[in-house]
């Protein structure tokens, strides 16, 4: 395998991770790995910080490639109106690749801020009843290439997927559904990400659908006031990605399908949420010799604040 073909080989991994991060719920409670349709109150904000670790060592070749991604995305949500919320998300990455070469095992790595994503979400439908809500909200966004995509090391410029930024302007759109009660919550979304070319490289477009079920395990009975909740969380993320294009030519070792499942916990109070989820791939049907993901871990905190004076 040539080093020059590496970008496509782990592009799917990196993009899957990125997309998961970018769609992380920035609103109320909700899923851990993607957004929710629950409202952000007008003139209020939610700040979210996460740490995500992804390990991928399933290399079908003798290169023994091993990929580790540490990511720390920070997201800010703001309620413009009760129905319209805006989100800004910027991740910090530390990505590394280890692989066998004729001169021994080498490590290539890059770190820095990734691309900035802006999202808008509008609640198109809401059915509020005592103790429950059902909502549907389309969302759309644009990813701006603010992260560096020209990081180099000894052997030269790092492959594109190893760069913190993508270099391209990409668009994203979809719809998210939420059904929340006092005891449980179900969320699901579906969307599409259209990627563009930059410097002769284009990541394959991506379709995705996610689902999350959160069940209140504590307290078993709701007391007076606003008690803190502990939710047990089960989530599923399905990504279908087209082949990357290098110089206009499809990379045979890129793209494919990945279905990831995970279990997690959320501690939800009136002002903040602490959460964590462990995910493993249930199915990976990747094209060519792409590296398969082993597992990922995500922990984070959300904090709600208001611009209202009271």
């Amino acid at each position: 395998m040539k080093v020059s073909s590496l970008p496509g080989r782990y592009a799917l991994l990196c993009l899957s991770v990125l997309l998961g991060l970018f769609l992380h719920g920035d609103a109320l409670a909700g899923p851990i790995t993607f957004d929710t349709a629950l409202p952000v109150a007008s003139r209020e904000g939610i700040l979210r910080g996460q740490y995500v670790l992804v390990r991928a060592t399933g290399d079908p070749t003798s290169l023994g490639r091993s990929i580790t991604v540490h990511a720390a995305p920070v997201a800010l949500a703001y309620g413009v109106t009760p129905r319209l919320a805006l989100f800004g998300i910027v991740p910090y990455f530390d990505k590394s690749l280890k692989m066998n070469t004729p001169s021994g095992r080498i490590k290539r790595s890059a770190s820095g801020f990734g691309d900035l994503l802006f999202l808008g979400r509008y609640t198109a439908y809401a059915l509020d009843r005592p103790g429950s809500t059902i909502r549907l909200a389309p969302f759309a966004g644009v990813k701006i290439p603010t992260g560096r995509d020209d990081v180099s090391d000894g052997p030269g410029r790092l492959p594109r997927p190893l760069q913190p930024g993508s270099g391209s302007w990409d668009g994203l759109g979809g719809v998210v559904f939420t059904w929340q009660t006092l005891g449980w919550e179900f969320d699901a979304d579906a969307g599409y990400r259209k990627n563009t070319a930059a410097d002769g490289f284009r990541f394959g477009d991506q379709a995705f659908t996610d689902a999350s079920f959160q069940y209140r395990v504590w307290p078993r009975r709701l007391g007076a006031g606003v008690p803190a909740y502990v939710f047990a969380v089960a989530e599923s993320n399905l990504f279908l990605q087209g082949r990357d294009r290098v110089g206009g030519v499809p990379d045979p070792d890129s793209g494919g399908a990945r279905w990831i499942v995970g279990l997690g916990l959320q501690y939800v109070t009136e002002r903040f949420v602490i959460e964590g989820i462990y995910q493993v791939p249930a199915v990976q049907r990747l094209n060519g010799n792409a590296v398969e993901t082993d597992h990922s871990l995500s922990v984070g905190v959300r904090w709600e604040f208001s611009f209202l004076s009271s």
């Binding site: 809401a126 005592p130 007076a224 209202l308």
Partner: protein, 116 residues
């Protein structure tokens, strides 16, 4: 110039007294929720049904928006009952509409409002 004292004959005065008393009783008997309650004397409470509010993280926005209403002394959310209890300072002029607007601004649907 001299002023003559005005005399109200007794049966007519009794009628006026009865009408005033009936008016006062009627105003006391009117359903409080239908009023846009100016608080008078002691502080008053509005118990507001907040439909759709079903997790702790949602309650914060409801509290903040209700707290921003004029004359609010305290806001307490009862998650299990899906309601917020808003205590107003005496003599505060707040209408049901203002309360409903605050609940909507928090992203939820206002229900019945009971004044106590």
């Amino acid at each position: 110039m001299t002023f003559k004292p005005v005399h109200i004959n007794r049966p007519f005065g009794r009628w006026i007294g009865l009408v005033l008393a009936a008016t006062a009783l009627a105003s006391l008997a009117a359903p409080p929720a239908a009023r846009s309650g100016p608080a008078s004397g002691a502080s008053r409470q509005a118990v507001v049904a907040v439909n759709g509010m079903s997790c702790p993280f949602c309650a914060y926005g409801v509290k903040k928006h209700l707290s921003a209403l004029p004359g609010v002394k305290s806001v307490q959310v009862e998650m299990a009952k899906g309601e917020a209890i808003v205590e107003f300072a005496p003599e505060t002029e707040v209408t049901d509409e203002q309360i409903q607007r605050a609940v909507r601004a928090a992203g939820f649907t206002p229900g019945k409002i009971e004044w106590k």
